[in-house]
């Protein structure tokens, strides 16, 4: 069984990157001094970022896996349902209306949920969801919302622009650990539920007819999966804004490495995406320290070459 071996390797990797993420930064703390009282504040801040990275990586990657399986579309990703532009638009509107910073996550969450509802309703006909219309509706809503964002930004200028950038390029700066805990609950729960559907996802990834022949109620499963991934992404947007690439590429990468069986794919992807995100966050903080580069930029810059390499090599290991 390769599963145990792969999981152990990934777990070890995760431990290593976590240690690096804790000691490196604007101030480097030697490993031995990490738990000293003097370093408590920095340690706590960095630990929160690490936890956020793990949560965001796992949540987005597992959502991507599930959506790619039910839609059998390699371009499916967690923000497929217009989530990102919905959240962005809502945040920008909130800034313009002068809403207090504390309510920003809530505004983003509501925007994400709203756009998901619109896309879902556009795509369903008599209670039946067709994959293609879902993807198209998502694209249409994204484009429409994005243009409204740009329109508002050009009218209201700098402040809205700054807020827009924060949401659209993402950051793992955690302002409030309570918010992190609040978000962790639906995300972890959502990942677990998706894992319970692992065998159904296997069957559906062969095609909807095939799945029906294996006794699977594909319409219901599709709805459940869409709902859960929507919940995961909307929750994550509250703490980190939009972080692209993770939910699209990490699933493909792991499929190339461990194969398409979701029982293996989901746990290994959780670990791999966590490693990836912790690493990306470390780079975003340290490369041009004290300047922080938006994490979305880093995820794309690291992810793209790694993915190309795997695509060319293209074998299970």
């Amino acid at each position: 069984m390769y599963l145990k071996r792969n999981l152990s390797i990934l777990f070890l990797l995760l431990c290593i990157v976590i240690i690096f993420a804790l000691i490196k930064g604007a101030v480097n703390i030697p490993l031995a001094n990490l738990l000293f009282k003097d370093n408590q504040v920095i340690f706590n801040l960095r630990l929160l970022r690490v936890l956020a990275a793990i949560l965001v990586g796992s949540g987005l990657a597992v959502s991507g896996i599930a959506l790619q399986a039910i839609l059998r579309n390699p371009l499916a990703e967690p923000y497929l349902l217009g989530t990102s532009s919905g959240a962005g638009l809502s945040a920008v509107v909130a800034v313009i209306l002068g809403v207090s910073r504390i309510y920003m996550p809530l505004a983003a969450f509501l925007g994400a949920v709203l756009s998901i509802l619109i896309v879902y309703n556009l795509a369903s006909e008599k209670g039946v969801i067709a994959g293609k219309s879902l993807i198209l509706s998502g694209v249409i809503i994204s484009v429409a919302f994005s243009s409204v964002i740009v329109f508002l930004v050009s009218l209201f200028g700098n402040e809205a622009m700054h807020e827009m950038n924060w949401w659209l390029w993402g950051s793992l700066q955690v302002y409030d650990y309570k918010l992190l805990l609040l978000v962790a609950l639906p995300v972890i729960l959502g990942i677990c539920v998706i894992y319970l559907f692992a065998q159904d996802l296997n069957a559906i990834s062969l095609g909807e007819e095939e799945a029906v022949h294996l006794g699977i109620d594909t319409q219901n499963i599709k709805k459940i999966i869409i709902l859960i991934t929507a919940l995961i992404t909307s929750s994550l947007i509250c703490i980190c804004g939009i972080i692209g690439f993770v939910g699209l590429i990490i699933p493909h990468m792991m499929r190339l490495i461990v194969g398409p069986n979701h029982k293996i794919l989901i746990p290994t992807t959780c670990l791999a995406a966590s490693v990836f995100m912790v690493l990306c966050d470390l780079f975003s903080r340290t490369l041009f320290s004290p300047l922080e580069i938006p994490i979305g930029v880093i995820t794309a810059l690291i992810g793209a070459p790694v993915f190309v390499f795997l695509l060319k090599k293209g074998k299970r290991i």
């Binding site: 059998r72 319970l196 296997n202 069957a203 022949h213 109620d217 194969g259």
Partner: protein, 262 residues
């Protein structure tokens, strides 16, 4: 002989147009029924209706005494299984993983496979001569091997009735015979009832104990191969001239195509 599947005045198809228009047919326990008919006569649509992929518009289908629409889908898939022409290879599952999916109808929600399920998979891999390929990815297999994997998966469902939609269409003659011999053996030894679409009339003649000839959404003629495969029936439905004689080896009808120049 008991009736396993009873199709009663069935209507159904796509969008507004019905492809199957008032079709009735019975499948007996132990049958090796082959469905033949020209393109567009409704063979595949019929199978998609009776396997619950398409919604039935009018008429009823009974499995034993139960209306299939009222059966739980998983229960239905424990009784019947379906083998398609080929399988997409976008997701490169291993042979074992794919055959294990045949156990899905036997699992409750939130239940993972047990040792017993793994044993059944192993047994079906042996029956289809796939043990050596068990850990290969399906995209590494030949079309003939992939077809055997699909049969193995269907067998893992432990069905009483097996539907197949042209299982030999992508195969050379050697692999065609291999698959059909395997099915014949399952039919004889394990008393598995088989309903299969075939295009090749001579293969239908060689393996079927009953043939249903479809035309324009109806059963044009149904019965023993000798009753169905007459030159009159074939000419009427396929609109082409054929010569029917007896196969020297099996004594069954042998259809000879007659090329013509107009």
């Amino acid at each position: 002989m008991s009736i396993l599947l009873k199709i009663n005045n069935l209507y159904g198809g796509y969008y507004q147009e019905d492809v199957i228009k008032g079709l009735s047919l019975e499948v007996n326990q132990g049958d090796f029924l082959v469905i033949i008919g020209p393109n567009g006569s409704g063979k595949t649509t019929l199978l998609r209706l009776v396997t619950r992929v398409l919604a039935i518009k009018k008429g009823k289908v009974f499995y034993k005494d139960k209306n299939i629409v009222q059966m739980n889908l998983k229960e239905f898939c424990r009784k019947t299984a379906f083998v398609s022409q080929d399988i997409g290879t976008d997701f490169s599952f291993t042979v074992k993983e794919l055959v294990l999916m045949g156990r899905i109808p036997h699992l409750k929600r939130l239940q993972f496979e047990t040792k017993r399920d793994i044993e059944i998979v192993q047994e079906k891999l042996r029956a289809t001569d796939l043990l050596d390929l068990a850990d290969k990815c399906i995209d590494e297999l030949s079309a003939g091997e992939r077809q055997r994997v699909l049969v193995a998966r269907a067998l893992a469902q432990e069905p009483e009735l097996l539907f197949l939609d042209e299982p030999t269409s992508h195969l050379d003659i050697g692999h065609q015979i291999q698959i059909l011999d395997l099915l014949k053996k399952l039919n004889r030894v394990n008393n598995l009832t088989i309903v299969m679409i075939l295009h090749d009339l001579n293969l239908a003649s060689a393996y079927a104990n009953r043939i249903a000839l479809l035309d324009k959404g109806f059963v044009f003629k149904e019965g023993h191969p000798k009753e169905v495969l007459t030159y009159k029936n074939i000419e009427a439905v396929y609109k082409t001239i054929v010569l029917v004689d007896n196969n020297r080896l099996t004594g069954k009808p042998n259809i000879v195509l007659v090329p013509g120049e107009k």
